[in-house]
């Protein structure tokens, strides 16, 4: 037993004992413990094996910078790998497992790798496992990946629920330590809307382990009083257990709240984690400062910890990390830690000070070894002694824990996430936050103010300034009184010279000082290169402890200032955030919204099989009893439409109404064909080009009144066309008097197609819909029997006599039901988008399968849709480009397999007979294909070089995906009724 729970003290609740387990061993801790403090109290210093060399590793820190104490918490699908034991709140039933070891933590076979470490320097695998190349993916990489690593992700479905929420405030305070609490109080009292977020489960930050009194009371009492006051303020929101991980445009901050990571029985109503997007008018970074480790031989031995962490474990958790602690320091902080531990009755083996003569007072009777350095450590699974060297004299200092203190680095991560680089301060021997403008300011230790009184003063002053700036009147409160301050100075020591064994810079990635030397020697001395070459500063801790030392060592090796080396790039996330939290509720049915047609229920009742089409669910076909394949249903539906009548849901098409004296002119410029003289009560097919002359979308344009139009778009581009119109109206032609509005959701639209369509429809409507009264392309308002008003369009996408009836959406199902009922006498059937597609293919009508962004109107056989008379329209000028008018462009043709049993599929390419497939020999491609039940064989639409001149020619359809070649005959793309007699009947 070397680590233990102190008899008294600390902020843990000794009346509430919690049971938990580590690697299967049942243990007990107290409420208020972290997993790390509870492990230490149970003498479990060894917590993991290192990433690369499998060296035994222990707890180093008491916070989120922890590189070593990564464990897997939970089991099965609820496992969270790489959880930092130092921030994991203890709860009853917590189960934790160590990582990257086999068969056990104490005896790890992988540790043999450490023996070979001379051959395993930075980048070793790039050099070692080069040949034969094919073995890299199959052998070397899997082997390396198995040997190296941290926790394992579980592959099971995550049963937790997550969510996101927005928040808005005048001031976001990041960090609930002395500077943050007083800032929140100052701003909250002044009436600002304040959000205070802190990653810890208990607000107070360093106040929770502070020994200096505030206003005559212990510092944590001050913290509790401040929290109580803040809780009572309605304009203040406290977010404990919340890490602000990112700073984004418009002063939006990302934060993750661990809502119930710390409970044994999570509530089903609450998310496990919640991501906050906090829109802050101002933000104050009060994130404190991080103590630096020292880089010396054997510094990764379990038991070598941060000096400040030793204090925190003793003061806040009532835990001694060792019975005899040695301190290695380059500044005052080491002495302070020694005093804290000494006061708790923990023996101090010695204070090793790298400096020559300092005035810092060691506790009574403690030996100070000045101008000295640690060159090695002793012990295996736990440190048992330090080898201290002074002017060539080596001495062994026995101890069972070591506190290292290498000075302070302000935590400025968030301030540097949007491009501004940290600035080196010679005075502070540290990188400090750049000036990033008024939106985000830094206070307290994060601002390089390391004393308690300084933090309180800085936090209050910054919050006061922000309040005034935003028009509030902050009270001039008297600052709380603090005790005697310690001088926070230190002398930089980047590397303790004379290391007798590996001196680790980055514990988590097993990067030691020599790796950085290797990187420099091999030309990777730039700080960003050195990071990639050595992996220093990578992985889950992103070098929170190590980066500054890596920079200092590189500077030392290059003989320059750390200012010249600079830092690597700071990016979100400050600490890792689970994918679940980032996804929030956006999974399963909440992942993307579903759009349902007003006729969805009608289709469902009629047995439709649905297909996803963007956000829509469209009815694909309507299987009937006895039909075994989708083709049987589709063939029946097609034949029935050609012979009798069918109805189809076309509600998903985009519908936009336009109004105004310039509506006709607006549309005339938007579409390539002439629309100015479209008569009232008539519809016309309209083709829209992009500026570059290629087809954008098509649809119908109906003139409902002189200054009132209705256009339809394809389902896919309903939103796109609307945006395009907004752009044209607002940017291109703001002088045109036109207003428009989407009416897509207002109407249920039903296509009724087939030779008996009129007979069916006439049963339902009052109006005369004979060919004379309502000819092809007529449009008008109709009254259904019973009085319901609808809109009727005589348009056809099947080549048959067809109408589209639009009724207010809520009536859609009832009207469709009624059509089916009266249509029964005419052998009506419902048909879906698959039959719709076959019908249009038989008729040679192009869709977006043809308009794929490479196709001009002329390519698609729609050259007549491009008005030569119009002075201008979108796409006109670039349509005349050389290349878009070339004679050998691919043109729309039909294809029929020579052997009628063969099929053709979309995506196949066309080749001249006997030619080898190559880009050069490519003659075109198949854009759509289907089986035509009318013709009894497959048909296809294709784009073929100079295709319209090649009807009758035989061509090879080369389908590499199915490794199949089919001989086909090139033909007119209109397979059924080329004279349009049926459509106009």
């Amino acid at each position: 037993m070397t680590a233990y729970r102190l008899m008294a003290g600390g902020l843990v609740d000794r009346s509430r004992s919690l049971s938990f387990s580590f690697d299967g061993r049942p243990l007990r801790g107290f409420a208020g413990d972290t997993l790390a403090s509870a492990l230490l109290a149970n003498d479990q210093m060894l917590v993991g094996r290192s990433f690369k060399y499998h060296r035994p590793r222990g707890i180093v820190s008491a916070g989120s910078s922890e590189p070593n104490a990564l464990v897997t918490i939970g089991s099965g699908a609820r496992s969270d790998p790489n959880t930092k034991a130092t921030v994991a709140e203890l709860y009853t039933g917590l189960t934790a497992r160590s990582q990257n070891r086999w068969p056990s933590l104490g005896f790890d076979i992988g540790a043999v790798i450490d023996r070979f470490s001379p051959f395993l320097g930075a980048g070793f695998y790039y050099k070692t496992f080069m040949w034969p190349a094919q073995l890299w993916e199959r052998l070397y990489e899997p082997l390396i990946r198995r040997a190296a690593g941290l926790g394992r992700a579980v592959l099971e479905r995550d049963p937790e629920i997550y969510e996101k929420s927005w928040a808005h405030c005048d001031l976001l305070v990041v960090g609930g330590g002395p500077a943050g609490l007083i800032a929140a109080l100052t701003a909250g009292r002044a009436g600002l809307r304040v959000i205070l977020a802190d990653e810890d489960f208990r607000l107070g930050g360093s106040l929770l382990s502070e020994t200096q009194p505030i206003d005559g009371a212990p510092a944590h009492v001050f913290a509790d009083r401040a929290v109580a006051e803040l809780q009572a303020l309605p304009n203040v929101t406290l977010l404990p257990r919340t890490t602000v991980f990112g700073w984004y445009d418009d002063n939006v901050f990302g934060a993750v709240e661990r809502v119930q990571k710390h409970v044994a029985e999570p509530s089903a109503k609450l998310p496990t984690e919640r991501v906050w997007r906090i829109v802050a008018r101002r933000a104050l970074l009060a994130t404190g400062a991080e103590e630096r480790p020292l880089v010396f031989g054997g510094n990764d031995r379990p038991g070598v910890m941060m000096a400040g962490a030793l204090s925190t474990y003793a003061n806040r958790y009532g835990v001694a990390a060792g019975r005899s602690v040695a301190i290695f320091t380059n500044g005052t902080a080491g002495y302070r830690a020694a005093r804290d531990l000494h006061a708790k009755g923990i023996a101090i083996a010695a204070i090793v000070d790298s400096r020559a003569a300092e005035a810092d007072a060691a506790p009574e009777g403690v030996r100070v070894i000045r101008s000295a350095a640690v060159v090695d450590t002793r012990g295996r699974l736990r440190v048992s002694g330090l080898v201290v060297e002074r002017s060539g004299f080596e001495e062994l200092v026995a101890c069972d824990a070591v506190g290292m203190s290498g000075g302070w680095s302000p935590v400025i991560h968030l301030a540097c996430q949007r491009g501004a680089k940290p600035v080196w301060s010679e005075a502070l021997n540290a990188f400090v936050a750049p000036d990033v403008g008024g939106g985000l300011r830094v206070a307290g230790s994060a601002n390089g103010v390391y004393t308690l009184s300084g933090c309180l003063g800085d936090g209050a002053a910054k919050a006061s300034a922000i309040a005034s700036e935003l028009g509030f009147k902050p009270a001039q409160d008297v600052l709380p009184a603090t005790g005697e301050e310690t001088d926070p100075s230190f002398t930089a020591l980047w590397y303790a010279p004379g290391a007798k064994s590996k001196a680790f810079v980055d514990f988590q990635n097993d990067v030691h000082a020599k790796d950085l030397g290797l990187a420099l020697r091999e030309g990777f001395g730039h700080v960003e290169h050195a990071k990639r070459y050595t992996t220093s500063g990578m992985a889950t801790d992103q070098g929170k402890l190590s980066n500054i030392n890596a920079v200092g060592i590189l500077a030392g090796m290059r003989g320059v200032s750390p200012a010249d080396v600079g830092t690597t790039t700071f990016r979100p996330f400050y600490t890792p955030v689970s994918f679940g939290a980032l996804a929030g509720t956006a999974r399963d049915k909440h992942a993307a919204p579903v759009r349902k047609s007003p006729l969805h229920e009608w289709a469902r009742k009629n047995g439709a099989s649905f297909v996803e089409a963007g956000p829509w669910y469209r009815s694909a076909w309507f299987p009937r009893a006895g039909e075994k394949t989708w083709r049987e249903s589709v063939d029946r539906e097609v034949l029935n439409v050609r012979a009798n009548v069918g109805i189809c849901d076309v509600s998903t098409l985009g519908k936009i109404e336009l109004f105004g004296p310039d509506a006709a002119e607006f549309l005339n410029r938007l579409y390539s064909n002439a629309l100015l003289k479209l008569p009232v009560g008539r519809a016309r097919y309209g083709l829209m080009l992009r500026e570059d002359g290629f087809v954008y979308d098509d649809g119908t344009v109906s003139r409902l009144a002189e200054e009132h139009f209705l256009v339809t778009t394809t389902t896919a581009l309903a939103g796109g066309v609307m945006s395009h119109m907004e752009y044209c109206s607002q940017v291109l032609w703001p002088d045109l008097k036109v207003r428009f509005c989407s009416v897509s959701d207002q109407w249920a639209q039903i296509a009724i197609a087939g030779p008996k369509a009129r007979s069916v429809l006439q049963q339902l409507v009052e109006d005369d819909i004979s060919n004379a009264a309502f000819p092809f392309l007529a449009v008008g308002t109709v009254t259904l029997k019973g009085g319901l008003k609808g809109r009727l369009f005589r348009i056809s996408f099947s080549g048959e006599l067809a109408f589209e009836l639009a009724v207010p959406a809520g009536f859609g199902v009832a009207v469709a039901d009624q059509i089916m009922e009266v249509g029964r006498a005419f052998d009506i059937c419902a048909y879906g988008v698959e039959a719709l597609n076959v019908l249009r293919l038989e008729k040679g009508l192009p869709t977006h399968a043809e308009f794929d962004g490479r196709v001009t109107p002329d390519d698609a056989g729609l050259g007549r849709m491009v008005s030569a008379q119009k002075t201008d329209f979108i796409g006109k000028h670039l349509s005349a480009r050389y290349g878009l008018t070339a004679a050998d462009r691919s043109q729309l043709v039909g294809l029929k397999p020579v052997d009628k049993e063969k099929d053709i599929r979309a995506g196949a390419h066309l080749l001249r007979e006997g030619m080898k497939p190559s880009t050069l020999n490519d003659q075109g491609w198949v854009s759509s294909a289907c089986f035509s039940p009318v013709l009894g064989h497959h048909i296809a639409l294709a784009f073929l070089k100079s295709g319209r001149e090649r009807y009758g020619e035989r061509i090879v359809v080369w389908d590499k995906l199915r490794d199949q070649e089919v001989m086909a005959e090139v033909c007119n793309p209109v397979f059924v009724d080329p004279e349009n007699a049926r459509m106009k009947a």
């Binding site: 969510e163 996101k164 929420s165 927005w166 928040a167 808005h168 809307r193 109503k269 609450l270 997007r277 829109v279 509720t585 956006a586 049915k589 909440h590 993307a592 919204p593 579903v594 759009r595 349902k596 047609s597 007003p598 229920e601 829509w616 109404e657 109004f659 105004g660 009132h708 008097k737 207003r739 428009f740 509005c741 009416v743 897509s744 959701d745 207002q746 109407w747 049963q763 259904l784 029997k785 019973g786 319901l788 009724v807 207010p808 959406a809 809520g810 009536f811 859609g812 199902v813 009832a814 009207v815 009624q818 009266v822």
Partner: protein, 184 residues
């Protein structure tokens, strides 16, 4: 053959079954309402807004410059159309949207916290007072959001998205025991 066609609500399937009592936080869905889009003619935006603001018989929802949604609980769609035509006197185009939109009314002490899970707007009374309205995203769905009281908000959503939005709202309200029913 004369018949009356049944008008089905987009949420008929979702809210089928016996109505459950409304909780403290409640989502009421209007079963019938008249909604119209008013598009002011160029240059007539201010006149139209003044004309529309004079009446208290319906509610005005801002959508875009010169564009408003008008919601009336007492009119039929045709009635609202006539009334608006008379009010605007040819200065605006009126488009019936009664069937295109679904009206969700959210009420209760936790409404702001519920909405914050889907809406990025600042809904603090100082920023979004009673009577304010705006087009906004609620999760993935575009809605027109209005504050109708201290703790009451109204969302007007496209009909085709109504089921998805309903599911999202219920998930957002799970923490606060949100209930839902057609408005009485």
């Amino acid at each position: 053959m004369i018949r009356d066609y049944y008008n089905r609500h987009a949420l008929d399937e979702k809210l089928r079954g016996a109505p459950r009592p409304a909780g403290v936080n409640h989502l009421a869905i209007a079963h019938r309402q008249a909604v119209a889009m008013v598009l002011a003619q160029a240059g007539e935006e201010d006149t139209v807004q003044r004309a529309l603001s004079q009446t208290t018989e319906f509610i005005l929802r801002f959508c875009a410059s010169g564009e408003w949604l008008v919601v009336s609980e007492n009119d039929t769609p045709e009635g609202l159309q006539r009334r608006l035509d008379a009010l605007c006197a040819g200065r605006a185009y009126i488009v019936d949207q009664s069937e295109a939109r679904v009206l969700f009314r959210l009420s209760g002490p936790s409404t702001r916290r519920i909405l914050a899970k889907g809406v990025g707007l600042d809904l603090h009374p100082a920023a979004f007072a009673t009577g304010a309205s705006a087009n906004a995203l609620c999760g993935h769905v575009a809605v027109n959001l209005a504050r109708t009281g201290d703790d009451t908000f109204e969302l007007i959503a496209p009909r085709s998205f109504a089921e998805s939005l309903f599911d999202d709202l219920m998930a957002m309200g799970r923490e606060y025991d949100l209930t839902a029913a057609f408005a009485g």
